[in-house]
Amino acid sequence: MNGPLVCIIDDDASIRRSLMRLFRSAGIQAEEFETARGYLERAVHSGPSCLVLDVGMPEITGLDLQQMLCESRRQEQVIFITGKGDIPMCANAMKAGALDFLPKPFDDVELLAAVERAFQRSGERLSAKAECEEACRRVATLTLRELQVLHRVVAGKLNKEIAAELGTALKTVKVQRGRMMEKMGVLSVAELVLRAQQAGVAPVTGS
């Protein structure tokens, strides 16, 4: 199941039921959880996902959960709903990366719009992550020499300079560069730079 999924976490049963109904009526896939712990036990969803999260819950509060997800670098977007919204709480949540903070009783249109935004962002993040992973994978296939060439190409060095730095022939460099570009699946230096950044490869300047 790769489609967008919204997960409802609230200790109040009537609110969970009503939210499930609402998402169903909007054609959005939804699951409900009574506690944060229950949600953490669920396997990570592979598609775009969004959390509709109550702040005030026993044991692990909504804010605690957000913290945990942040630390685990998870991709879910978090939308807070709360009966006790005060400004400091809201500010903290937003600073920690929440998408939105809706005090109860919320407007369903606002909520659904936020969920859509969340899916979008989550989707973007997922693809970005996928791309990074892809770039990393590709970089891993490079030989040492190819990697060295990569470092210098993204630094803006000419082939001639690279050959001089690496102490190889110009022709060798050209060949290595060609192979590297192919392995990286790019057609231009600009794209290469992007891929290198995604893979976390830093340009090497100087010799």
Binding site: D12, L22, G83
Partner: protein, 496 residues
């Protein structure tokens, strides 16, 4: 020795009479030893003729009769007129005796009278002192003869009851003065005293002739009537209007204080209550919007719609309960006795504080007997007590961060047939000194606390006939508990 008498005869010891023969003899009266002249005269004189000198002339022919008596002829007879005493000795003695007796009697009577007068004076003095004391203490004394239905009252008592000085008082007249609402109870107290031949004690209102209401405290004792028939009820009554008014004022103030403390509690809980209302409201609106969307999409499933509406109704009612809870907490009410279930009380309070529990990061756990724990009491007031204890528990656990962060609320039946409700926290607990002071008025360990919660809670519980206390359980923290007598069906007390 006979010179004093006209000696006619001489008497010897033998009582002989000498008589001059042939002469007329004057005989006068004389007691003769052994023989009275009376006898002599009868015998001798017979036809004697009295002489002016007071004697008798004995006719010569009677002289021979003298010989009848053994009186030698030489005897001289002396004679003396008997004295009053001699003649009327008995009478005199008799009179004397009578006189003496009469004198004695008169003396006794006089003595008696003076004693009696002294006693009467003493009694009068005693009465006067008693009256003075009674007047000073505002006491009216009274006595009621049950059989004859006749009552007497001191002046003080009469004026207390507004009855004129000379009017006859009977039971009905007194009853007339008593306030209609108190008549039945007073009647019952009197009847009990008479039946048990014991004591009567009652406080009741009377309405003075001017229509003013005054409070009377009466105390009486049943005594047997002196004439052996029936009983008397004797006692004193005191006007206690001033005391009663003070009592009522102080009770009113206590109630106001209770109200104030409830309002203060509610203030503390305002945010929590807003949250409690928000939950059902949110669910209601969300459900309704979902239903609208389904309809807009043309997906009308009656079953689904029915469920949605049902959920809306349930949540609406939930909100209503919270509102009712608030109103009942804040409303001023006199103690109202009903049969309550302790578990229901706990549930109501838990509902009110759930939000607050979350705010304090505490878990609420309830533990109760499966059977309903019934008790007689005022729901509002007992909920207030429980609420107070629970909020205190939360506060105890805010600093420092506790472990575990839990408040246990429980109900159980004790061995003494009471229902015990307890609130246990896992905070730092109470030191022994604080444990004793904590129920004092105006003592508080909280910086913003007014310190009236626990002392009011204790008075509420005690007014219900129970007690409130704290213990230090193993595992730390404090356990506040209060007991209330359990409700027993068909109990005599319930009928009251």
């Amino acid at each position: 020795m006979f010179s004093r008498f006209p000696i006619i005869f001489r008497i010897t010891l033998f009582g002989c009479i000498h008589m001059c023969a042939g002469n007329a003899a004057e005989v006068s009266h004389a007691p003769v030893w052994g023989v009275t002249l009376h006898h002599l005269r009868k015998e001798l004189i017979g036809g004697a003729v009295a002489t002016p000198a007071g004697g008798f002339q004995v006719p010569p022919d009677a002289a021979s009769g003298l010989k009848k008596w053994w009186i030698p002829q030489v005897a001289a007879m002396g004679f003396k007129s008997p004295s009053m005493w001699e003649e009327h000795r008995l009478a005199i003695v008799g009179i004397f005796a009578v006189t003496v007796m009469q004198s004695t009697l008169i003396a006794a009577l006089i003595l008696n009278r003076s004693t009696r007068l002294r006693a009467e004076r003493a009694v009068a003095e005693g009465n006067e002192r008693m009256n003075l004391a009674a007047r000073a203490a505002n006491l009216g004394m009274w006595g009621w003869d049950v059989a004859g239905d006749d009552a007497w009252m001191t002046e003080q008592a009469r004026s207390m009851f507004g009855i004129k000085q000379d009017v006859r008082i009977d039971y009905a007249a007194l009853l007339d003065r008593v306030h209609p609402e108190d008549r039945w109870d007073r009647e019952r107290a009197i009847r009990t005293a008479l039946d048990t031949h014991g004591e009567y004690e009652m406080e009741y209102r009377i309405i003075s002739p001017e229509g003013k209401v005054r409070w009377v405290s009466a105390r009486g004792r049943c005594v047997a009537s002196p004439n052996g028939r029936g009983q008397k009820l004797l006692g004193v009554s005191m006007d206690v209007t001033a005391r009663k008014e003070l009592e009522m004022e102080s009770a009113q103030q206590r109630q106001d204080l209770g109200h104030l403390s409830r309002v203060a509690l509610m203030g503390e809980m305002a945010a929590s209550l807003a949250h409690e209302l928000n939950q059902p409201l949110t669910a209601i609106v969300t459900n309704a919007r979902a239903a609208q969307r389904f309809i807009a999409r043309g997906e009308v499933d009656p079953h689904e719609l029915g469920e949605t509406l049902e959920d809306i109704v349930v949540d609406g009612r939930r909100a209503g309960e919270v509102i009712r809870g608030i109103k009942s907490m804040v409303r001023k009410a006199d103690i109202d006795r009903n049969v309550l279930d302790a578990n229901q009380l706990i549930e109501n309070v838990v509902r009110l504080v759930r939000g607050d529990a979350l705010a304090h990061g505490c878990n609420l756990s309830t533990e109760r007997d499966a059977r309903p724990a019934l008790l007689m009491g005022d729901a509002i007031q007992l909920q207030q007590v429980l609420l107070n204890l629970v909020i205190n528990a939360f506060d105890a656990m805010s600093h420092p961060r506790c472990n575990p962060c839990r408040v246990d609320i429980g109900s159980r039946r004790t061995n003494d047939g009471e229902i015990e409700i307890s609130v246990r926290d896992f905070g730092p607990g109470l030191s022994p000194e604080i444990s004793t002071k904590i129920f004092d008025r105006f003592f508080s360990t909280k910086t913003e606390g007014m310190g009236i919660g626990l002392s009011i809670a204790r008075s509420i519980v005690e007014a219900h006939g129970g007690s409130l206390g704290v213990s230090h359980p193993e595992g730390g923290g404090a356990r506040f508990w209060f007991t209330v007598p359990a409700y027993v069906e068909n109990n005599e007390e319930v009928a009251v």
